[in-house]
Symmetry: C2
Subunit: 381 residues, 2 copies
Amino acid sequence: MRFIMTTSSFAAATSGPLLFSLPAPHRFESGAVLEGVQLAYETYGTLAPGADNAVLICHALTGDAHVAGSGSTPETARPGWWDEYVGPGRPIDTDRFFVICSNILGSCYGSTGPASINPATGTPYGLSFPVVTITDMVRAQHALVSHFGIERLCAVVGGSLGGMQVLEWAARYPDMVEAAIPIATTTRHSAQAIAFNEVARQSVISDPNWRQGEYYGGAAPDLGLAVARMIGHITYLSDESMHAKFGRNLQDRENLSFNFETDFQVESYLHHQGRKFVQRFDANSFLYVTKAADYFDLGLERPDSHAAQAFAKTRTRFLVVSFTSDWLYPTYQSRALVAHLQRGGRDVSFCEITEKWGHDAFLLPNSHFANILGGFLRHVC
Amino acid sequence: MRFIMTTSSFAAATSGPLLFSLPAPHRFESGAVLEGVQLAYETYGTLAPGADNAVLICHALTGDAHVAGSGSTPETARPGWWDEYVGPGRPIDTDRFFVICSNILGSCYGSTGPASINPATGTPYGLSFPVVTITDMVRAQHALVSHFGIERLCAVVGGSLGGMQVLEWAARYPDMVEAAIPIATTTRHSAQAIAFNEVARQSVISDPNWRQGEYYGGAAPDLGLAVARMIGHITYLSDESMHAKFGRNLQDRENLSFNFETDFQVESYLHHQGRKFVQRFDANSFLYVTKAADYFDLGLERPDSHAAQAFAKTRTRFLVVSFTSDWLYPTYQSRALVAHLQRGGRDVSFCEITEKWGHDAFLLPNSHFANILGGFLRHVC
């Protein structure tokens, strides 16, 4: 049975995310099993009769399904997070492709996660929600994609944590992925990346309001989560971009305050990012998605890993993209992936884009990146 | 009148830090004035009759006066924090030099700071303690040095925040500084460095136990301070050193935990650093010393700044040292200082040491660094 998508014929989603219920209980990588798992998703463009024009976009750590367009609901009123790159005539051309983007498992934008109600108790799961891995996210997406009757994706595309999902798709379902485009990502977290995530998690966990994740209905661990987000934001930018954006500029006075208020614009910016974030993201989901990032490890150095086995003979065409100033997932990590694929004789293109905006670069307008992405997709699909 | 130092004839301090009371009220850069300011200090070696063999060592953010040797008091039982580099026959040779190291103003190791008792109230100053700058620290040290009858220091040496003090000494008292050795430091904090400090401060401030700094006698903001220290520790290491030290090694089991306990060794290491730190450092002092670092700006690009004026004609000999993997105060920042001094025709040597240990490298044994430091001091003093 094909899933009938009434909104799929619009270039931009207008009605907010739709809900897909997994047809079977989800068995997590941890061994836990959960019934009633749902994914929130949006689609753009029209699925061709042969179901052969689909592109799956995977979002990053705290993203959502609203990847493009501006719709009429509160969820979609703002432009999608990758509106620069997805839409009619854009690099991921919705006049041509049927684009799917779903909120990741464990997140808080409609998909099942720790803030969802556990039907067995009538209260939110909290920490009783199973730890989620990139594999779990991808297996849930696979159910959604299959439900559309899609047997082969033109491309799976994503940056950062989305790029990890792209790599896991290519490793787990190589015959379903025509092209894989992992952007500003890594095959596994470095010790430094784990360290940043763990400190951010500890900031949440140390907030007395967190209460072992049982804060729903009461005061949330906003202060801890805000600090956690501030830590993250530093890693998303670069030394150079912070210098260009803020330097040592003072906030709104000519002199230092000589107290512990905000002196520098960069401090004010981080406070703002922290405050904004706690209004839109669930603290427990933050723990889950960062843990998923830390756990991710393709294990390419182990010949018996599922990824090494799949990549040894895959026919997927890879476009690996990195940004020079990204120090969270530095270019050398993308190069290692490319070298691995090249050694195996696989079809891989690599593009390192010179850009000062750090890890966040993949979310920002960049005509060079747009041309590469659009060109590659026109070529392979 | 010469200050009589009974312990100054020992190669290693044996009796713990001594206390020096500033002879006059300290006027802070902020304009605040405080009476009864004290500095805790240690000395090593013997002051020559002409008082012409003194070396001042400035410690980093959370350091103390115990720079070398192992003494008999609880404060000095552990080896000094720079024992590798200070002692008889070592690069800073206490057989030759009279070494002074004092705890910085605003810290919590014996010098007056926010945890000290305000004689006017009988309770700790807390946030009523004036904001401290590098200038304030250096002016207090100047009073100590002068009290010894020292009119000219052979060298002022220090790394990180200690290096900022070295630069401020050279800018403020150029005729008193024969040689200045700023190590792993910067002439001003970058936006990124300010960002890390501000997030760390927010972690302390967000801890409900902090209570606007009025936690003395009650529960201290240990959780917030531990997270703050964890943030700092990431910046003290490097991507490469964390990889070498921890990689993705798991803590004490072969499998992932699939919960929010500690999985990776790097997490355990950071937790340990956080726990250790809260036992030894005052949370308010942490706010003050990080703020001092953020405020520091020699202003060399402004021809009318006191540093630019002093450096235009100084006869101080500079040895600037940086480490390749230091990304907190990257080499390019040291190079900018060196270039400024060179353009002015000053006497400056620059040494960039190839080392993977990140910012912390200046605290670790390194024979190359030891040779350079010792050689320079033999040459200039």
